[in-house]
Amino acid sequence: MVNLLQNENMKIYRRLRTWILVGLMVAFVILVNTMEWHFDGKKAMDDGWKVTVKQEIQQWNRALKQPNLPDENKKYYEQQIAVNNYHLEKDIRSTDGTMWDGINGSAGLMIVITIFTIIIVGDVVAGEFSSGTIKLLLIRPASRAKILLSKYISVLMFGILLLLVLFVVSIAINGILYGFKYIDLPLIKMNTEGEIVEKSMILNLWKTYMYNGVSTVIYVTMAFMISSAFRSSSMAIGFSIGALFAGNIVMELLQRFDWSKYVLFANIDLTQYLVGSRPFQEGMTFSFSVGVLVVYFLIFNVISWLIFTRRDVAA
């Protein structure tokens, strides 16, 4: 199995295409962060954060006075006010105008990771068929299931590589732009008991990565299934990236139907359960979505496996 994984990795990293994608990833992170810093971040770099924090408190106070405010929103505003007051009392900076502002914002670039990983995964099975190499690959003493699994794992590893690139480059570039002074800045938040606590910023960042990573894994698994089922890399890449962008639009059209909460795209974005935003349909919970995603994940993988291990290779 380790040998098979080595093989799949060799086939990914001995290609120029892979390194172009990695290079593009680096370039994107640098470009987006530099622009962000240039247009926004520079202004907030000194003591400007106090003004912003105070302004936010005023804003939320005003919002609290609104009539008919749902309990959920009220609780959220009150929490935020408490957190901001803590910042002012203890003189702990908010992330505004520090490297963390850029680093946390860069987590949004995980969509690029999803796209690039789909590009690799789309070709990982289909490419063997279109080049004819599948024939020499499958006549070895290794079961088709193991070969398929090693391909899947190698692609997920590529996604992790891109995530590490995002992590390292976003820290480096934001450190260069904003200075590394606040690298040990804590994250101030309210825990479930209502106490204000100081948490590690890096841990929080990885938590965000993991939340977003779930959708990456699901899209990649879907592309992997299409790649194995239709043996067409363009179809796998096109359909998956299309779904990535069109999923939300389709869901808006489907929202009035009750069953739409079982559709993949209604559940794929787990950040909808973070405080302050409303889920796609009433009654959907975090565990409901995780359950739905697990079912889709298993279905995709079972289909890939069934088709890949049984199909006649006539290419």
Binding site: N3, N7, K135, R140
Partner: protein, 310 residues
């Protein structure tokens, strides 16, 4: 050496939808033999080979390689097989050496030394660290042979192995296959549409047509054919009279006049003196008698075609 066959096919049938692609193939290949698949395009040569190496499922029947069922004991069975299925497509973006490392990792017990050994065997030492995309067709073919031999298989399967090889390359491959069967007792199954090549390479041939096994015979028998239906050209004057005389002889399978005025007779060899005697009795002047030796292509068409015409 054991008398157990290296590979046996038992009632192997392949259906795709309602169409029967391969119909009830049964044959054994013993150790050390070079066994050929002959048949026109679409006869099922490639399908049979794909079933042997596990690329295609078997609808009915079974294939045993060294006693291991390719379906239920795939990993143990395929371990003994090295193959090129159609053209040997390699990873073009990898070097030849990386390709071999790739395949070596998939089998137990292929050392670095063995890779080097195989590389020198196919004479690719100078180019093995170049990308396969820069290889000529012949070099790719040789790399294909190298990957098939890497794990010292007992059974080597080559589908159209000489495609893209120049005559020297073909000869080299042929000599090498002979060498392998003699020194290592390796068994080879080749398919080819080039009859002359099969003649020089194979010990026995299986003739396939429309998914059915027409015959399995030693190559010599295939070439010589059965002596019963030879055809002879007789130059005799006057031809029309000769024709009518020959027609009346018992045991003649067929006789007709060619455009050149020659008599074409299909008959048993033993009947020829009788025919000549009869002609002379009728005062017909005989100038020459010639055995028409069939080309391999004719033999092939005869074996595969006779039944459908007749």
């Amino acid at each position: 050496m054991s008398s157990e066959p290296i590979i046996s096919l038992v009632n192997v049938t392949k259906k795709i939808g309602k169409a029967t692609i391969i119909d009830d193939l049964t044959f054994d290949v013993p150790q050390g033999e070079i066994f050929g698949f002959l048949g026109p395009n679409g006869a099922g040569k490639t399908t049979t080979i794909r079933m042997i190496v596990g690329l295609m499922s078997i609808t009915k029947g079974k294939i045993l390689i060294k006693g291991k069922n390719i379906k239920s004991e795939f990993e143990q069975a395929i371990r003994h097989v090295g193959a090129i299925v159609e053209s040997p497509e390699m990873y073009k973006y990898l070097t030849g050496y990386q390709n071999l490392v790739h395949y070596a990792r998939m089998v137990e017990g292929v050392s670095k030394e063995r890779i080097d050994e195989v590389v020198s065997l196919v004479k690719l030492e100078n180019r093995i660290h170049d990308k396969v995309s820069k290889y000529s067709l012949g070099m790719r073919q040789r790399l294909g042979v190298a990957q098939a031999l890497l794990h010292r298989p007992s059974l080597l399967i080559l589908d159209e192995p000489t495609n893209g090889l120049d005559p020297a390359g073909i000869r080299e491959l042929r000599d090498y296959l002979r060498h392998l069967t003699r020194t290592e007792g390796i068994t080879v199954i080749v398919s080819s549409h080039l009859l002359s090549e099969m003649e020089l390479m194979c010990d026995r041939v299986a003739i396939l047509q429309r998914g059915k096994l027409i015959n399995v015979m030693p190559i010599q028998q295939f070439i010589q054919g059965n002596d019963q239906s030879q055809s002879y050209l007789i130059q005799a004057t006057p031809p029309e009279q000769a024709l009518s005389v020959v027609r009346q002889i018992d045991g003649i399978q067929g006789v007709n006049l060619t455009q050149d005025g020659l008599l074409e007779v299909n008959a048993d060899k033993e009947l020829i003196p009788d025919i000549l005697e009869e002609l002379m009795k009728n005062h017909i002047r005989i100038y020459s008698v010639q055995l028409v030796s069939q080309s391999l292509e004719d033999r092939f068409l005869e074996i595969t075609g006779v039944e459908q015409i007749g």
